[in-house]
Amino acid sequence: MSFPWANHYAPKHPLMRWLDEKLPLPRLVYNAVGAGYPVPRNLNYFWNFGVLSGAALGIQLITGIILAMHYAANGLVAFDSVEHIMRDVNSGWMLRYAHANGASFFFIVVYLHIFRGLYYGSYKAPREMVWLLGLVIFLLMMATAFMGYVLPWGQMSFWGAKVITGLFGAIPVVGGPIQTWLLGGFAPDNAALNRFFSLHYLLPFVIAAVIILHIWALHIPGSNNPTGVDVKGPQDTVPFHPYYTAKDGFGLGVFLLLYCGMLFFAPNYMGHPDNYIAANPLSTPAHIVPEWYFWPFYAILRAFTFDIWFIPAKLLGVIAMFASILLLFFLPWLDKSPVRSGNYRPAFKKFFVLLVIDVLILGYCGGAPAEEPYVMISQLAAAYYFAHFLIILPIVSKLEKPLPLPNSITEAVLAKSGQA
């Protein structure tokens, strides 16, 4: 949009011209994800994950709306209504497995999308707003996923709801009343289940709205690219359509292959067996874990085992867990290096690899039982997580001597193909 050489929408058919005058929706699409959006020509496969996230949201919306036609949000029948979907509703088993595994795959592609942004400096000026809106989407996704996991009303649903709302109970003075208010009672029950269902249905549409803002904000500076160098001219870009629609089409095929492989051949692999036991307020599962995509944060929560002065460990854990996400909002101002792409930042690159390993370790520990050595490992890993963003990154961005940048995207592309 902001590139003067972008293709201009010029409908040929009279009907399209008429529509363009009355409601320029095709023009909007053309400029947003059509031939009217010039995109750097050198994007690699990591740039597929934005579109894939959108596809995953689409799958979740469609399957979710359908599941809501058969699901009953009442503690007495919720569990049985899910089994009704699995056994009696036509293709119900497929729709429910598609939704349950769809949530996992949504997080997989979004995590890859986020780490792509972290490595290639997509959070830096002039794309701070894209990054901030992306984080808002991520927070909304987490809330939606958590509430969705409560709906089947199995053991993990119930105890997950109890534990997570219990986090709010850690807030001094007002914590208890807030927890009661969130649940509409003293423990998760019909009131909680019904409001979680209502919000679980609402939030995906809010996510879709914020995604529109996210894309809008992206189109003002245009897409980042693996060199991190600004687009200099028409030779640096290709139109989104057909070039990136074709590439995303291929990416979507690969995504669907993996997703359907899981859906049809290992649909419960990423779930927890305890959620096939109906909720029982009188019996806690031996070891409560959230869904895998929350494990890194769950590990940070559990890493705080000692009270510090007057602050109880529980509150520290809650603060740290929220801080671990909130600190990402400040990232554009913590990393002051003028170079975006990690490819040209030797020290940053090393620490980035460490961060990826660190988050994987945190994830592993979050899924493991709360016993040694996992607690100690997660303490170390959580310490690195905070140190990476709050201490190392600002220092590295100041001290590091970046490699020489290419003058333009085209130069980088030609240099690469010259080597090959």
């Binding site: 293709n7 058969h70 293709s91 028409p234 290709v238 139109p239 057909p242 070039y243």
Partner: protein
């Protein structure tokens, strides 16, 4: 997909051979389209009755307890079903009418099973706008013709549940049923 804007792009594609190779783009898009259309089938079919609903699409009614002159209201496919044990007088009243003169011409024979003329089994759904007619319950108004009476808009049905007066266009519907034994009817 087929319209590549080569003039706009860097690294121009060689002029000849492009059209032929467009085939692969068309094939890919068409193939994906077929897939998307196939996915629609289960998404639409999920709204059809589920297995537990279909399992109740056929019911058995025990007639043993229904005395002559009595009727019962039961539920068939979530709608009222009237099972009526006609008296000899009611049968005679129904047979006396010239079927050809009726709005929906049918004889009692056509509306019951052979040899089981005394068992009148109909849906309890008025053919006008779907209200439940009176007359099956003990002490309910049976209308001017001694059969059923729909209070919504005043449709009168006779002892063969045929429409005789009022706005309803058709006789009360007779569902598919058969006698599983002398006293048990399987409806649906």
């Amino acid at each position: 997909m087929a319209t590549l804007e080569h003039s706009e792009t860097p690294g121009e594609v060689a002029g000849d051979g492009v059209r032929r190779r467009d085939f692969i783009n068309i094939a890919a898009v068409s193939f994906a389209g077929v897939g998307a259309a196939t996915v629609l089938l289960p998404l639409i079919n999920q709204m059809n009755p589920s297995a537990d609903v279909l399992a109740l699409a056929s019911i058995e009614v025990d007639l043993a307890a229904i005395k002559e002159g009595q009727a019962i209201k039961t539920i068939f496919r979530k709608q009222p079903l009237f099972v009526r044990h006609l008296t000899a007088a009611e049968i005679a009243a129904a047979d006396k009418v010239d079927a050809a003169s009726l709005r929906d011409p049918q004889t009692l024979e056509q509306r019951t099973l052979a040899g089981k003329k005394q068992w009148l089994i109909t849906m309890g759904v008025c053919t006008h706008l779907g209200c439940v007619p009176l007359g099956a319950g003990e002490g309910e108004v049976k209308g001017e013709f001694g059969g059923y009476f729909c209070p919504c808009h005043g449709s009168h049905y006779d002892t063969a549940a045929r429409i005789r007066k009022g706005p309803a266009p058709k006789n009360l519907e007779v569902p598919v049923y058969k006698f599983a034994s002398d006293t048990v009817v399987q409806v649906g």
